[in-house]
Symmetry: D2
Subunit: 338 residues, 4 copies
Amino acid sequence: MLIVMKHDATEEQMGKVLAHLKTRGFQAEKLIGSERTAIGIMGNRGFVDLDEVTRFEGVREILHVSKPYKLVSREWRPDPTIVDMGFGVKIGGDLPRVVIGGPCCVENEEMLIETARELKKVGVHALRGGAFKPRTSPYSFQGLGVPALHMLRKVGDEYQMPIVTELLHIHQLDALNQYADVIQIGARNMQNFEMLVEVGKSKKPVLLKRGMSATVEEFLLAAEYILSNGNSKVILCERGIRTFETSTRNTLDLNSVALMNDLSHLPILVDPSHGTGVARLVARLAKGSLAVGAHGLMIEVHPNPSKAFSDGAQSLDLSQIRQLMSEMKTQFQTPSSK
Amino acid sequence: MLIVMKHDATEEQMGKVLAHLKTRGFQAEKLIGSERTAIGIMGNRGFVDLDEVTRFEGVREILHVSKPYKLVSREWRPDPTIVDMGFGVKIGGDLPRVVIGGPCCVENEEMLIETARELKKVGVHALRGGAFKPRTSPYSFQGLGVPALHMLRKVGDEYQMPIVTELLHIHQLDALNQYADVIQIGARNMQNFEMLVEVGKSKKPVLLKRGMSATVEEFLLAAEYILSNGNSKVILCERGIRTFETSTRNTLDLNSVALMNDLSHLPILVDPSHGTGVARLVARLAKGSLAVGAHGLMIEVHPNPSKAFSDGAQSLDLSQIRQLMSEMKTQFQTPSSK
Amino acid sequence: MLIVMKHDATEEQMGKVLAHLKTRGFQAEKLIGSERTAIGIMGNRGFVDLDEVTRFEGVREILHVSKPYKLVSREWRPDPTIVDMGFGVKIGGDLPRVVIGGPCCVENEEMLIETARELKKVGVHALRGGAFKPRTSPYSFQGLGVPALHMLRKVGDEYQMPIVTELLHIHQLDALNQYADVIQIGARNMQNFEMLVEVGKSKKPVLLKRGMSATVEEFLLAAEYILSNGNSKVILCERGIRTFETSTRNTLDLNSVALMNDLSHLPILVDPSHGTGVARLVARLAKGSLAVGAHGLMIEVHPNPSKAFSDGAQSLDLSQIRQLMSEMKTQFQTPSSK
Amino acid sequence: MLIVMKHDATEEQMGKVLAHLKTRGFQAEKLIGSERTAIGIMGNRGFVDLDEVTRFEGVREILHVSKPYKLVSREWRPDPTIVDMGFGVKIGGDLPRVVIGGPCCVENEEMLIETARELKKVGVHALRGGAFKPRTSPYSFQGLGVPALHMLRKVGDEYQMPIVTELLHIHQLDALNQYADVIQIGARNMQNFEMLVEVGKSKKPVLLKRGMSATVEEFLLAAEYILSNGNSKVILCERGIRTFETSTRNTLDLNSVALMNDLSHLPILVDPSHGTGVARLVARLAKGSLAVGAHGLMIEVHPNPSKAFSDGAQSLDLSQIRQLMSEMKTQFQTPSSK
């Protein structure tokens, strides 16, 4: 960490900063430049939170040198993490790419079976479906709850597909540990730290979605929460960020996919359904995501999107996912470039 | 709601949309323009979620006419809501402005007493303090927990100040119902819908902070969740949004304060501490907030910010809050302009 | 256009709006819903600017039905535009993809020749290079000026590559009309309307870069300026937008590439060099851009990036572009998907 | 400047960086931490552009210590700059606040006289009006041009008010030097560097508007361009930035007003008309801006906004500006706080 002093900072001001650092237990060193002096904190291990120093007279700003995460970082753990989702489906490194498909929320058993049967047939690897739904408006459908978990388990077992479903509240964790293969943390819960701690103690793989206004650094820190509690089976999922552009629901940040592949050893999924919010754009962004190096995709599929209870505008129907899977076939085996 | 067709949409395409609307139970009407046709849905009450219609051939886009909220809206309830925070402190309408002060998190009883005594003396109306802290990094201090609630209650009673403290997880709600006067929902939980439902069933006033990437519409919808569950004692709190500008921690959106005063009858607070993230900017933005029409302020105060466990960079010390309260004195009685 | 009235708007208020519309020459119609009334303006051709109506008592908001552009729109002109850049290089529709490469700015003739020779050899189609450079800081290198144009022309002729160079100020237009094959309008000039008008009168193809905070609609409107002045040889270029994410220089918006392919018949380039700002990410985003359906790429290449006068951090060196061209080979012939 | 190496960077990699720095003429020093090494560049004067170093093996990132501006900085020039706008109107420091009012664009002489007469009467200090208008759509009114300058001069002389008008293109500079008292650089030209250089050579005061996606640092750098060319009569103008929030036209960034008052000695205006885009919000944000410490305001006023050629939705009418001026009276004398 570097504490940059104002060019006219006095010796006395500098002395107070140095004394404060000493009481906090840090070893500091003055770096005298031609225009100003900086104070380097040299002996710290990892990230140091010393923002209160900005209050001292004569201090201009603080520059952080160490990133505040470590376990998720490729710098410290160069080998790629491979996450086993169950039923032989593995994701990460140079393994073939993985596609997770299914409806935004489970509406009934029939539609789930119809979807799973077709997805299995066209080569989709895992089945997603929401049991509990977070909705922006209090007047919208909120999900079937636990019965949906039973349906997902039954259908997953029948079609030999791992089940991915979202943990909306901590008290549902036991149920998910019992019924799901992969626990999804939604974008709105990316910084629900108690939840991160709890899934960190679970043995299930965790699919962590990026918050819609989270930086890459905050996203990796959220993953760090999970790893630091003992669970290193984390899959990162880019799903679009919020920007000034409103002609698509979100702005899919494919830069972040390439960047996170450099910064972290964890596998990276892209969700082009939420990333665009528009069904007719999904296929193109799916192919773009694989070309950028994503290890897999998560795509909303519904047998009859115009009757979907939610996300109808962005879901593919069964013929659209069939076509997309066929178009992407050659991309699946390409080792993810770096 | 208005469904805008492409200029070359066929009669058959239009017919399919109309048929779909009929099966969904809506009454529709064709509006024939010189360049294109639109379909108006005329008889609906409130917001209609028909986004799946964008999938139909010949449809260009959907325009929503009704806002998706109603109970929070001044259009439907013109009189201002006055929220009674306890100990005679009321906020809203043309009442004198209210200031809530206190540390980011309760560190121990001594610092809390020292802070409350001084705040009371300089005219601050209510005491805030965190018992449970959400932290971006897993390696930071996470709060004292329930013992901090006991301290807050004791100190609030002694100095006759209502206690405002954050609900981090639903399972803490009983404790907050017992010890707090006002329940704060933090920015990260603004769309934690289960939490909104639960505090909607509480009898306590709720201080709802705007999510850092939430639009004004989403913010008002979150408040609608609480009101629609029976609790209309909601205070809105603007605390800065995330933008491309990083020279301050957030971008305080004072436009939204004036706008929400027009759109909603609920009282509006501003938190210039999080809104700027920089102690030396807080006083100026506090005065600006009142001038824009905020009904009150929430300000972080710490007896020794450079030793604070968190948010030291943005907290005022006791002499700074004393000076600010004195400078704002003339602003307190001004009726909030519209 | 739709003027939405407040639910309690009076007949008199509605009457005043209708009278105003009549004086402005518009034909209006009342649309009576169950909760509120709207006023539709039915007979207009194209976009109507009536924002002053928001000032009338009883008016809640205005919804625009027609988009404010037409000539660039695929709805009105379904066939793709093919732009001939010279030397047989054509871009657009289902033609093979085109790559434009070269240094951020021309530093001297030797480096330009070295670059062009290698680019030609590896299959790059056109040569870019800045003669005039806009720089954020007044203390940075500002470009060689007209002599750089001479070098570009000479080298372009020698290697049979069309020359793409930026018009920084209108008074340089004559020189560019004389020396360049394609005139580039930089992101900062996307809304320099006088410049758009002038290149609209030129006969040269125009490569128009998206402003870093321009919406897709504003971008297409800027292109509309050029087309409406008589020049339809416009190539759109996505080069990243400004968001809260600062770990890359910009956020490359590949959603916009797919979306604009639907909305407009114009060819679309992507500039992954500015879009990421980081050389080691460029190749992956280049491949992703083609997979999303871009008609071509613009990539910064420098024979010795660590000695480049500008943009050294994001330029590929000659061996990197060679490898990328070889990796993308199979993508070139794929018809751009929709 | 600090070059941060990866934790496993080799001696050889470090050596190459040090060698490169030597050839570039910089004096470097190794700072050995417990987890990684950094290289400090100690002897530079001012900002150093060495981004190409990120390309070297073993380098993780670069941290800039010096800000890239100096002349505009309060750190180097602590005394406030006072700008004399003419007719005795001065702005800056602790002088009484200044209000500039007038129409978006000059439509004819009658409306200009009517506006100026009323503005003078209610205490507005200076008159603004556009002669040349940048318009997003090619189909909108583009301004009267030079005749509008004549009208502005005549009316300004008659009512003894300085004239503020926008320079849209460099070739208009002679005319503005002749007819205007203050030259306005619009948001879209904030990084039109040739224009900045030219007004830097003018003797007229310059009102520089912040670009809608410019950071505070970029804004101050744009001002630095003007000062470094010899003109230090620069007034900064905050006019709202582009964010994800679209319920107002822009997000007025009052944080930046307080921050720039600390960072720079230049006077700061706020334009709440563009900052909100909504007439009924303007008065409240105007008062908020003064409370935050702005040295003045620029407000759009039109005698009949619902007939305005442009910006009708955000202009105050004559009775609204009269009321606002009366409400702000007590704020005018307050020394701008810091």
